[in-house]
């Protein structure tokens, strides 16, 4: 086991049982339910295996496993709950059985330390699709464990706060990665974009950038034609 003392885990034994026997290929680690789009809403049952519904390119054999929220986004008004969640996060170690079958891993609105993040990603050697959406990086002065191999495949980053993206870029640049595809979505193109993609260097083959402008400011209406005007 590569896990140290800080590992995001699965709070329910039955879910861990499913992971041992489900041979899931995709594992989204979700945080707050309020940030999940409606069509991807977390079901009330502990786990709900469903087929991927993204359409093009998806195989009916790919199984998208939905888990209950592991760690909610940082509660700004509930410090007691916050500390409880962090404590729970540090004592749960239940990723068993699927390290070699998992190909897609998503961190969706999670509160996590950087060493824990690196440990989880490194635990799954065949993950080719890593998505990180609006994380909150918990302060941790420990050094991240070294990766057992360079990270490869596709990296999708969706971060809209500059400080979150900055923290990610600071730490990500210290990893050994060989991603050939990167997707970055954010508010504005900043220097952090450059630092992230620079980390990949010569291996980068496909780059997708998004969120370069603000929607409301991008157009100016010079005149308008009423709806009754005929062409």
């Amino acid at each position: 086991m590569l896990f140290g003392s800080e590992v995001v885990g699965i709070p329910r034994p039955e879910t861990a049982f499913f992971l041992r026997h489900g041979h899931s290929e995709q594992l989204p680690v979700m945080g707050g339910q309020g940030f999940v789009p409606k069509r991807r809403a977390v079901q009330p049952c502990p786990f709900t295996p469903v087929f991927r519904d993204s359409g093009l390119g998806s195989s009916p054999h790919q199984r998208l496993l939905r888990l209950p929220p592991l760690v909610p986004p940082p509660p700004t008004s509930l410090p007691a709950q916050h500390s409880h969640q962090v404590k729970h996060l540090r004592t749960t170690r239940r990723f068993f059985g699927i390290p070699h079958t998992l190909s897609s891993l998503t961190f969706h609105v999670v509160l996590i330390t950087w060493p824990a993040f690196v440990s989880i990603v490194d635990y799954f050697p065949n993950v080719r699709d890593l998505k990180v959406t609006d994380p909150t990086w918990e302060a941790d002065h420990q050094q991240a464990p070294p990766l057992s191999r360079p990270l490869r495949g596709r990296l999708s980053i969706q971060m809209y706060q500059d400080q979150v993206l900055s923290a990610f870029a600071d730490r990500f640049s210290g990893l050994e990665v060989e991603y050939d595809e990167i997707l970055i979505l954010g508010n504005l193109p900043t220097l952090h974009y450059q630092r992230i993609i620079d980390t990949c260097g010569k291996s980068l083959k496909r780059l997708r950038l998004g969120g370069c402008e603000c929607t409301l400011q991008c157009f100016k209406i010079t005149s308008w034609v009423s709806a009754d005007t005929t062409l």
Binding site: T190, Y193, C200, G211, C212
Partner: protein, 164 residues
């Protein structure tokens, strides 16, 4: 009122909304990625930021540069209007092809516009779209929902319509 008249009015309304060329922030520079073969940019409309990104490419493996409009962004109708807005992109793409050819580029650079069905108008006239770039490059307009493709080949003014 039939559907056709609704579409026409919406197009007429869109024509009068002119994209504002945003000043560039800190766009990434792609001058040191020799293996880069595809660049996709999700944007409202190509502006100064996108032009800086594109002009920084030095990879001779680049095959495709794609624009994916964000919701509320430009559609395929906007490609046939506002030539003053598309002219800078045309110049940048033309300059990119010239620069890459000087570095030994042997492929045909493709510029793709990916729209969904609501933004895809196949019956428009795209002959005047990016004329400088199309002397040496190819423009493809894709309907990502249905797989339809409008192919504007190199050096020709006609449009090939491909359905999946």
């Amino acid at each position: 009122m039939n559907v056709r008249s609704n579409v026409s009015k919406s197009r007429r309304g869109y024509q009068l909304i002119q994209p504002f060329d945003f000043p560039a922030g800190n766009p990434p520079i792609l001058s040191h990625f020799p293996a880069l073969c595809r660049l996709e940019v999700i944007t409202i409309a190509p502006g100064a930021t996108e032009r800086i990104i594109i002009s920084s490419i030095t990879s001779t493996n680049i095959r495709t540069i794609a624009f994916l409009p964000r919701p509320g962004g430009f559609n395929s109708y906007a490609l046939t209007t506002q030539p003053h807005f598309w002219e800078p992109l045309d110049n940048i793409m033309c300059g990119l092809v010239n620069k890459l050819c000087a570095l030994g580029y042997e492929h045909t650079l493709e510029l793709e516009f990916l729209f969904d069905s609501a933004e895809f108008y196949p019956d428009l006239d795209f002959k005047a779209l990016l004329p400088k770039f199309r002397e040496r490059g190819r423009v493809r307009i894709l309907n990502t929902s249905s797989g339809e493709v409008l192919d504007l080949p190199v050096g020709f003014s006609f449009v090939t319509y491909i359905t999946s």
